[in-house]
Structure formats: structure tokens, C-alpha cells
């Protein structure tokens, strides 16, 4: 547990009574700064308070989670971990979202995410470091939910330690104050010594005067009562009974509404508004504002604002992106792959075997840009109260958003109050960072700018069209592959080159035993805003690699599962999940009597191994996915029911992308606009998904994203058996 050694648990009396424990990440945080060469100032910035646990005098326990709720339900998992480690009963524990203040920042958690993905700073992180606006100094200001990190890092590596230390402190308090014996232990919210019992609440005041022990033991598996159980999610009753307030539901007295038209060309400012008089005379319109990249109309009802925006006649300034199209981007990427490439991974010496004998197999893949399409479109409210600016929004890192809003408003961070709301979906859209130089929180900038000018409270809501057309997209990627088969039809070498810096991530490395591997990528600044999209680079690279290995199997006329297994060590995690999924689905290689075929894919991401089989048919030349079987191997599973829900959701998210998802670039903007041309899978098309969770004593893997990567290649590989191998997504184009 190297990470925990760099953590320090501290505690003391809580305001209002009780015992508070925090965790400080020391080295974890510095390591990131050092790697990225960011200057640190002063010692106070070297420490990071990660999270808090409060044991209250009424014998309840409050867990202040730094993670915002976007549908993943991780908060419930965090309470399960704490309840076990602190030995609580389920009714005792309460979950609260930590306020957006620096005491709760979890940059160290973010580092876990970054560190795992890359090991060295990737180009996109360098962007952050070099981008004056998003200086990595802001890492201190991150309060990040992403990278499937909530359970893995915050929960397993951090909170568990704090809870275990707290439990020991309570025992020590009983020993210290009441002379309890050395055999003193705990029992569901009580410290117990023979016949004597003290509730935690009775002991906290004394515990708060003691030092945090450095000798405490983590609970053994047999002592766990909540980890591994399908505990009901804390957040669901409020969602079902309408007590959850999304930011779009925020209301403030005197509120006015803003709608937005973007210039239509990425990066280009709005040049002119040609019908200003017409717009200002529309019913309810209070103002029209050219804010550079967008025009806002403010009105006394959101629909009136949106009607006015629809009636706007605006032009964009001519811009280098004005002629950009998907075709020109693809051409550029193809040319780039012929130019200078960066090395990502290499095994053996590929040059020594190039030009050998045997069949050479080549392939070219393309995946398009994709919008996140969260169900709740981007929106934020802002208002002034005294000398404070209030901002309400749903974001994956509230503290960062708060700092960001303060910069836009040109105010001290202390004068900005941030209200973090539950989100109608996140999927990476609501983090503060992009992989390009673009600002994903533009809607917050807009509302802050408007409120500073108009002074009255404003809620700004992007239409679905604005949301689709001003995203930070999953990057479009072209990838080229080649391999040569030896006399046993196994690859003598494996060579790939893809466009985009994510090609340098571990996801682009094939897991197979090939003696000579060379993985490269080309990268240039992206003219299209690109960002983190559920499962990030895994979603493209699993499609490429797992399609290509399947093409090789096809050339070898081999069963695709057997072919993969022959290229994996017997004890390899990929092999384990492949064998399990073959059993689960009763694997059939070939076309069934009723015209269906199965396809397979495997990918490890976010600490979780996933093997997927999809059963597919072709109806009117369109792919129809009937059933999906998934086996995951992810160490300790904290909440199996939530895990399954996340995997199912990930499969449908990935399937929507595989079958339909495309954002085409035309004249420098995105052509698609709403669900009619950017369709989302509906119930009738949703396959039956069967998930099997394998467990081990290893640290928990993530679940929020891991269902996504394998579904596209599994479907593509099934279609190949039906005679239609997709080399480009979406499949049902």
C-alpha cells in the first residue's frame, strides 16, 4: 500500500462537538507537481486535506464526500467501506457532499487517476500544465469526480484508513477514560469490553483529545458486513420523490433566463447580429449580449429566451476553422500518420522481422467525434447577494469550477459561493478540463458574465442543440494497423499508429504475446474541442485492437476466443475473463441457424478486466444486438448491484456510440443537433445484458466506465462473422 504510506490521518474535536478526522495526502500530491514541473510555493500548498469523517455525539457518523453525484452512486459504496471499517450499523451513517472549499479538495485522488493512466505526463496533462488558465497549480483546486476513482482511490485507499484509525481511537478512548481492557473491541457502533458498552457518541469527546494512532488494523474480510452487499443507494429516494434538485431546477427570487447561440464555428467569435431590433422587441426579451464566442438573449421565461435565440441572425467572423470538415480532418490525420510519429510502446525489434515471409495483414479504422449528450443539458444559475457571487451548477469538480468562476468574475475565490448540484449525467462532460485548449465550462463563464452585467439572478440553459454542438467531444481517431502471420498463423509482429495523444496511453498496447510490437501515434493541436468521454481512450483503442486481433483470427480461420487464448499466458487476467465469458454465453463460433453470430472483445480499464460477448444479427443490413454477456474481474466488489447497474449502463452508452454515434464536422461546426440526428438507444433496442462479477482480494477496480470499451468491438466482431466487418463507426451509419 504505497499510497497509504504517503497519507497521514489526523483528527481532533469537531465544531459543534464530536470527533473529526481528515486525511492529508503528502507525497501523492507532490509527486504530480514534480512530474509536471509545476512550481510550488510555500509549505501550506504541499499538503492536501482529502476528506473528512465526523463522528457525532448523537452516535451518527457523517461522511463528507468530495465526489459529486452524477448517477454513479459511488457515495453509497463509500459509506459501505466506512461502515465496515469503523464497525457501524447501517442507520448510523450519513453521506454529505463536501462543500467546494479547499479543505476538501481531492487533487491527490485525481493524481491516482492520472498516474494510473499514464505513468508519465501525457500530452493533454502538459496542456493543462502549460495553459496559463488551467495551470496545474489548480490541482489544489480540484475536487474531482472522474476516472472511476471514487471507490478505488477515495474509498479504498483513503477513507478506509481514516475509518480504521477512528475505530482504534474510539477503543483507545474507552481504555484511557474508563480503564477498559486490552481486549476491548467494537460492535456495530459500540465499543465493547466484556459487559461494558459505550456508544461511539459517548466516547467521541474524549477520543478527540487523543493522538491519532499509527497502529490500527484494517478489518479482515470475514468481519465485513456491508462491503460486497447490494446495499440500497442513499440517493435514490430523493431522486424518485423529486427531492433531488438538479441545477436546472434551481430557482432564485427575481430570476431571469438566458439562452445561447454559439457562433457555429469552433473558436470563432460572433461578428454581427443582423436583426437586433427584431429580437429586442420580442415578448419578454430583456437583453441581447454578444459575448464573443456566443450571443445570449435574456428574457423572463426560458422558452421566450430560446425563441429569440432561434430567431437570431448572426454571422461568425471568418476563422481558420471555417472550412473544416470531417473529411478534411480525416485527410489531415491520414497524412499525419505518414509523418513523424511518437513511440508509445515497443516490444522486441520490429525492424528485424519486417519483410519476412508470410501473409501481411493491414487495416485502417476510423471513429468519429462524439458528444456526451447528458440527459440534463449544460446549465448554470448565478446571482449576487451582498458582495458575494453565487453560482449553482452540476459539475464533476465543484472546487475547480468555483475558482474558475471567480477568475471570470474577476473576484476573490472567497467571494464566490458555489452550489454543487446533482447532475443529470456527467460522463466526463462536466470536468473542468479538455484535452485541447478548450474550456468545457463555457456555460459557467457565460452566466457569470451576464450576471456581472445585468445584476439580477440569471439561469442560463443550453438548448439540446447548443449542448450537442458545443461539447468537448470524444476525439475522432484514424488508426492504421499491420501484422504479419507466421507459419502458425500467429502475428510475427504487430504495428499500429493512431492519431491523437491518447494513442500513447496503455489502452493502445495490445495485451497479446507478440514478439515484436510497435505502437506509435501522431498528434497536433486539435481544432475541435476534445475531452474526456466515458472510458476516455479505452473506447477507441479497444475497438481498434480488439477488431484487429479478430481480423488476424479470421485470416487464421481460427475461433476468435481460442486464437486470443493462444496468445495469452495461462494465468493472464484477459485469458481468465475470456474463458469465463465463453462459458457464460455458451460460446458459439459461426452463424447460428437463425442468422445470429457472437463476437468477443476484452479490455482492461480503470483497474477492471472486462470480457464481453455480443450476439448480433443483421436486419435490413442494420446491426441488431440481441444479447450481451459480460464478465468483469475487479478485485473487491463493494456494491455488486451498483456495479451491475454501471456495467449495464456502460454497455448501452458504448452501444449507442457503436451503432449510431457520430458528430460530423461541417463548415467548422457540428452538424448533428438533437436526439433525432444524434440518437440514443431506447428500450426496444436495448439488448439483454448479463453481467458476471468475478471477485478477488485485490483492490477494487472501477465500474463507472468499464462497460463501455468492449461493446463496439464485440458487436463489430460478430458482424464480421455475418460477413460485414465494420472498419468505421458508427456501424448503422
Amino acid at each position: 500500500m504505497s499510497l497509504t504510506r504517503r497519507m497521514f490521518v489526523f483528527g481532533g474535536a469537531a465544531i459543534g462537538g464530536g470527533l473529526a478526522l481528515g486525511v492529508i495526502g503528502l507525497g501523492t500530491h507532490l509527486a504530480m507537481h514534480d512530474r509536471l514541473g509545476v512550481q510550488r510555493e510555500g509549505n501550506s500548498k504541499d499538503t492536501l486535506l482529502n476528506l473528512w469523517l465526523r463522528i457525532n455525539k448523537d452516535n451518527t457518523v457523517t461522511l463528507l464526500s468530495p465526489h459529486t453525484e452524477l448517477g454513479q452512486g459511488a457515495g453509497t459504496g463509500l459509506t459501505q467501506i466506512v461502515a465496515d471499517e469503523l464497525d457501524l450499523n447501517w442507520q448510523q451513517i450519513k453521506l454529505e457532499l463536501a462543500p467546494a472549499t479547499s479543505e476538501f479538495s481531492n487533487g491527490g485522488v485525481f493524481e491516482g487517476f492520472v498516474g494510473e493512466m499514464i505513468g508519465k505526463p501525457p500530452a493533454w496533462a502538459e496542456h493543462i500544465a502549460s495553459n496559463a488558465f488551467n495551470r496545474l497549480a489548480d490541482l489544489l483546486n480540484m475536487q474531482m469526480t472522474g476516472g472511476s476513482a471514487s471507490i478505488r482511490f477515495t474509498g479504498w485507499q483513503v477513507m478506509r484508513e481514516a475509518a480504521a484509525a477512528a475505530r482504534q481511537m474510539l477503543i483507545n478512548a474507552a481504555i484511557d477514560k474508563y480503564g477498559a481492557s486490552i481486549n476491548t473491541t467494537t460492535d456495530a457502533g459500540f465499543v465493547v469490553d466484556g459487559d461494558s458498552r459505550w456508544s461511539y457518541g459517548e466516547l467521541v469527546e474524549h477520543a478527540a483529545t487523543l493522538d491519532v494512532p499509527d497502529n490500527y488494523t484494517l478489518r479482515a474480510k470475514g468481519e465485513r458486513k456491508f462491503i460486497g452487499k447490494a446495499m440500497p443507494r442513499h440517493d435514490l429516494p430523493d431522486k424518485i420523490f423529486l427531492e433531488t434538485q438538479y441545477s436546472i431546477d434551481r430557482h432564485v427570487e427575481g430570476m431571469r433566463y438566458a439562452a445561447i447561440a454559439h457562433s457555429g464555428v469552433f473558436g470563432a467569435n460572433v461578428a454581427t447580429i443582423n436583426n437586433l431590433a427584431e429580437i429586442t422587441s420580442m415578448r419578454g426579451v430583456l437583453g441581447v449580449e454578444n459575448m464573443g464566442l456566443s450571443v445570449a438573449v435574456i428574457a423572463n421565461n426560458p422558452w421566450r429566451a430560446e425563441q429569440a435565440v432561434k430567431a437570431l441572425k448572426i454571422t461568425a467572423v471568418s476563422h481558420q476553422n471555417s472550412d473544416l470538415s470531417s473529411a478534411s480532418i480525416e485527410t489531415f490525420q491520414r497524412e499525419s500518420l505518414q509523418g513523424k510519429l511518437s513511440d508509445a510502446h515497443s516490444v522486441g525489434d520490429i525492424a528485424s522481422v519486417l519483410g519476412g515471409s508470410g501473409e501481411t495483414v493491414e487495416a485502417e479504422f476510423w471513429v468519429p467525434y462524439l458528444a456526451h449528450a447528458t440527459m440534463e443539458p449544460m446549465n448554470a444559475s448565478a446571482w449576487l447577494e451582498g458582495d458575494k457571487l453565487h453560482v449553482a451548477a452540476g459539475v464533476q469538480n465543484p472546487l475547480y469550477a468555483r475558482v474558475h468562476a471567480a477568475k471570470i468574475a474577476n473576484m476573490d475565490v472567497e467571494d464566490v459561493v458555489f452550489h454543487a448540484h446533482s447532475m443529470g449525467g456527467g460522463f466526463g462532460r462536466r470536468v473542468g478540463f479538455s484535452m485541447s485548449e478548450d474550456n468545457p465550462l463555457m456555460w459557467i463563464d457565460e452566466v457569470v458574465t451576464l450576471v456581472k452585467k445585468y445584476q439580477f439572478p440569471i439561469k442560463l440553459t443550453w438548448s439540446r442543440e447548443a449542448d450537442t454542438r458545443q461539447d468537448v467531444y470524444r476525439p475522432a481517431v484514424l488508426a492504421k494497423f499491420s501484422a504479419q502471420l507466421d507459419e502458425h498463423a500467429k502475428p510475427r509482429y504487430w504495428q499500429s499508429a493512431s492519431y491523437g495523444s491518447e494513442g500513447g496511453a496503455p489502452a493502445s498496447m495490445p495485451p497479446y504475446n507478440v514478439d515484436n510490437i510497435k505502437v506509435q501515434f501522431a498528434n497536433h493541436p486539435s481544432p475541435i474541442p476534445i475531452g474526456f468521454w466515458r472510458s476516455v481512450e479505452n473506447s477507441q483503442h479497444a475497438f481498434f485492437n480488439e477488431s484487429f486481433i479478430d481480423i488476424l483470427a479470421e485470416k487464421a480461420q481460427a475461433d476468435p476466443i481460442k486464437y486470443r487464448l493462444a496468445l495469452l499466458d495461462k494465468n493472464d487476467g484477459h485469458a481468465k475473463c475470456l474463458k469465463e465469458v465463453a462459458q457464460l454465453c455458451n460460446w458459439q463460433y459461426g452463424v447460428s441457424a437463425d442468422g445470429k453470430a457472437m463476437g468477443v472483445a476484452v479490455q482492461k480499464s480503470f483497474g477492471t478486466m472486462v470480457a464481453t460477448v455480443a450476439e448480433v444479427s443483421l436486419q435490413n443490413n442494420q446491426a441488431r444486438v440481441h444479447r450481451v454477456w459480460i464478465v468483469t474481474d475487479s478485485g473487491v466488489v463493494v456494491n455488486p448491484d451498483s456495479a451491475i447497474a454501471q456495467v449495464e449502463g456502460g454497455v448501452l452508452f458504448g452501444l449507442t456510440a457503436a451503432l449510431y454515434g457520430r458528430c460530423d464536422i461541417e463548415n467548422g461546426g457540428v452538424k448533428q443537433s438533437n436526439f433525432h440526428d444524434y440518437p440514443i438507444i431506447k428500450m426496444a433496442e436495448a439488448p439483454i445484458v448479463e453481467v458476471k462479477l468475478l471477485e478477488s482480494a485485490n483492490e477494487p477496480g472501477g465500474f463507472g466506465e468499464v462497460g463501455v470499451p468492449t461493446i463496439a468491438p464485440a458487436v463489430a466482431n460478430a458482424l464480421a462473422i455475418l460477413g460485414k466487418r465494420p472498419m468505421r463507426l458508427p456501424i448503422n451509419a
Partner: protein, 152 residues
């Protein structure tokens, strides 16, 4: 003036005839359980009941609701007295982000009113709401559960 029986109360609204019912409900009446997702009747987040039929309120002009009975998701039930669907939604742990779920439950309630014992295909046909989080299998299981209970 548009007169609507909204959740059992006659109310007058001074809005344009073509203002979609959704925005009247959310901003003029201040009932924010009904959600906005697309504005073009594609996603169902804005589903309400008009004279007991499920209607996507984002494309339904306010004037068309004149003299009608409109019920929003706020009428479904409460923590103390949950609607059968809400109880089933808890039991099956349906929501993820939850944003689509008021529309889902309203569509399901209308379905069960017209088809108390729906088949899986009936549910597929009636439930065309979008859930970006992908909760469909649990939505369906919950509806089937309620139907089974009702038929007992």
C-alpha cells in the same frame, strides 16, 4: 388567458398560445419535477398526463391544454404514500442520474392505466423515453412487477 386544471387546481395563465406546456409548468407554475431534455418530443423527460394520456409537454402548445386536466409527476406519490411505481423504482434501484425518471414513471403510469397487464413487447412499444444512463432493464422489471401486483 389559458385556463388549465393543473394537478387538481383550476389555474389561469397569461402566456402565449404557443408556449409549450413544459415551460408553463416549470416556470409559470413553478413545478420543476417535469424535466427538459430535448424540446422536440424525442426523449420523454417532459412527460405529463393530459386527460390521463401521456403527453410530451415540450411540444404541446399551452393553448391546447385549455380546459383540460393536466397532471404532473408531482401528483404521483410521496415518501409517506408512494405510488406503486415509485415503490417498485426503489425496490429495483432503477435510477442512476435520475434525470429521466420522472418522465419514465409518468410514461409507465399511463401505460399501466391503459394496459394493466402489459407484455414485454407492450412495454417496449410504449416506453420510448430516452435514458442516457441506460436503466431500461430495471425500468422494465419494475413495471412488470407493478403489473403483477395489480393483477393479484
Amino acid at each position: 388567458m389559458i385556463s388549465i386544471n393543473l394537478n387538481g387546481r383550476e389555474q389561469l395563465f397569461d402566456v402565449e398560445d404557443d408556449m409549450p406546456l413544459l415551460w408553463l409548468i416549470r416556470e409559470e407554475a413553478g413545478l420543476r419535477g417535469t424535466k427538459f431534455g430535448c424540446g422536440i418530443a424525442q426523449c420523454g423527460a417532459c412527460t405529463v398526463h393530459i386527460d390521463n394520456q401521456a403527453v410530451r409537454s415540450c411540444m404541446y402548445p399551452a393553448v391546447a391544454a385549455h380546459g383540460k386536466q393536466v397532471n404532473t409527476v408531482e401528483t404521483l406519490g410521496s415518501k409517506e404514500a408512494p405510488h406503486a411505481l415509485q415503490a417498485a423504482w426503489i425496490k429495483h434501484q432503477v435510477p442512476q442520474c435520475g434525470y429521466c425518471q420522472s418522465g419514465m414513471m409518468m410514461a409507465a403510469a399511463a401505460l399501466l392505466k391503459s394496459t394493466p397487464n402489459p407484455s414485454s413487447d407492450d412495454i417496449d412499444t410504449a416506453m420510448t423515453n430516452i435514458c442516457r444512463c441506460g436503466t431500461y432493464s430495471r425500468v422494465k422489471a419494475a413495471i412488470l412487477d407493478v403489473a403483477k401486483e395489480m393483477s393479484l
